[in-house]
Every structure is written in C-alpha cells, then in structure tokens.
C-alpha cells in the first residue's frame, strides 16, 4: 500500500539554525500538507500546497517557514531560523482528488 515517507525521523538543531524536513508524498496525489504536533498536544495545520503554490496557510506559518516541491517526488518544509518553540513532531500529509489525507510517520524536531 502506498504511504507517505518522511526524513529524517529525528532532527536535532541549535536555535537559530536552518532545518529542512523532507517528505515523499504518495505518488499520484495532488495536494500536500504540513502539520505539527507539540508533545502531548493536538495536531495543528501549517500549510497546504497545490499546483506548485501555497493554497492555504495558518497563522503559525510565518516568514520563517517555507515549502517547496523541488522535483516530482519530494516536498520540503524549511524553517529558516529555528526557535525553541519550534520543537515538535512535523507531519507531512498528501491527498488525491478525495478529501482523505494520508499522514507520514513524522519528523521529531528538537531545537536546543
């Protein structure tokens, strides 16, 4: 069964450093998403991406964040200058023509 994959599974970085989280969505999907989950809390929407541009974004997704689909398979989330409060699980998701969003296993980001 096709699945969303994410790398790395765990990323440790120093405050102020840039990080790039990578995702490979399900191959025939058209919509791509990033969500985050701070430990023990609910899942929060960050951004959605369709047709090579951002289609929706939340208040969390400020100028420090950017997304890119550099090729036909990868979807990335970049945080330019990480803060302590960026520590969370980051989930990539994708969907096709239906509403069903399939989530990846997540990347645990730890900012020291």
């Amino acid at each position: 069964e096709p699945e969303v994959t994410q790398t790395p599974s765990h990323q440790v970085t120093q405050m102020g450093q840039e990080v790039i989280l990578r995702c490979v969505p399900i191959s025939n999907h058209l919509y791509f998403y990033w969500y985050r989950q701070i430990l023990g809390q609910k899942v929060e929407f960050l951004v959605s991406f369709y047709n090579n541009e951002i289609s929706e974004k939340s208040e969390i997704f400020d100028d420090q964040f950017s997304v890119e689909r550099p090729d036909g398979s990868n979807f990335t989330l970049k945080i330019r200058s990480t803060k302590l409060e960026d520590s969370a699980m980051y989930f990539c998701a994708s969907s096709g023509v239906s509403d069903t969003q399939y989530f990846g296993p997540g990347t645990r980001l730890t900012v020291l």
Binding site: V4, Y31, Y33, Y35, Q41, K42, V43, E44, F45, S48, S55, E56, S58, F91, A93, S95, D99, T100, Q101, Y102, F103, G104, P105, G106
Partner: protein
C-alpha cells in the same frame, strides 16, 4: 477561530465494551468530519469520515453518528479491543477548504 470541543479527554473501557467519543462544533460551514487514530510515535491515520448530509456511517466496529441540529458528532467503537488503545482525534474542514483542524484528542485505554 472556530472551535470544536472534544470529550472526554481520556477514557478507560473494558475489553468488549463500547467506547464513545464526542465532538461538539459551532461552525455550520464545516462540511467534512474525519476521525483519526494515533498510536504513540506514529502519524495520525484516518479511521472513518462523514459529511453532514449523512446521519450515520459504519465501518466494521467503528461508527460515526452525526447530529446536525445539536451540532455534535460522535465516534462509537463497538467491542473495544486492547489494540484500539490509542489517541483519537476528531477533525473538520470548512466548506471549500482542505486544511484540517483537529480536536484536542481523547486517549483511549482498553483494559483486557
């Protein structure tokens, strides 16, 4: 931001019992209500979803009941099993949008 109240926060059920999780919403423009299951260290996985034009949907042991007039929707897990022990999130999206907003989650523990 429109809120949805999910309850209970945690739930302990005996094996074979019925688990019931509720979500109450405010915004009548919501048009898609999925339920996600999350195991520790994993990404959310879609369990079952419903739209407001349907009052009930059943898939195996999982049933969503939707009460439009009361603005509530519930997840029922029949014949609960220890393997169902996980955190369950209701979610929703506004008409015309794909971004999911998640409830606060319910940690279910099914005792053998």
């Amino acid at each position: 931001q429109q809120q949805v109240k999910q309850s209970p926060q945690s739930l302990i059920v005996q094996k074979g019992g019925i688990s019931i999780i509720n979500c109450a919403y405010e915004n009548t423009a919501f048009d898609y209500f999925p339920w996600y299951q999350q195991f520790p260290g994993k990404g959310p996985a879609l369990l079952i979803a419903i739209r407001p034009d349907v009052s009930e949907k059943k898939e195996g042991r999982f049933t969503i009941s939707f009460n439009k007039s009361a603005k509530q929707f519930s997840l029922h897990i029949m014949d609960s099993q220890p393997g169902d022990s996980a955190t369950y999130f209701c979610a929703w999206s506004d008409t015309g949008r794909r971004a999911l907003t998640f409830g606060s989650g319910t940690r279910l523990q099914v005792q053998p």
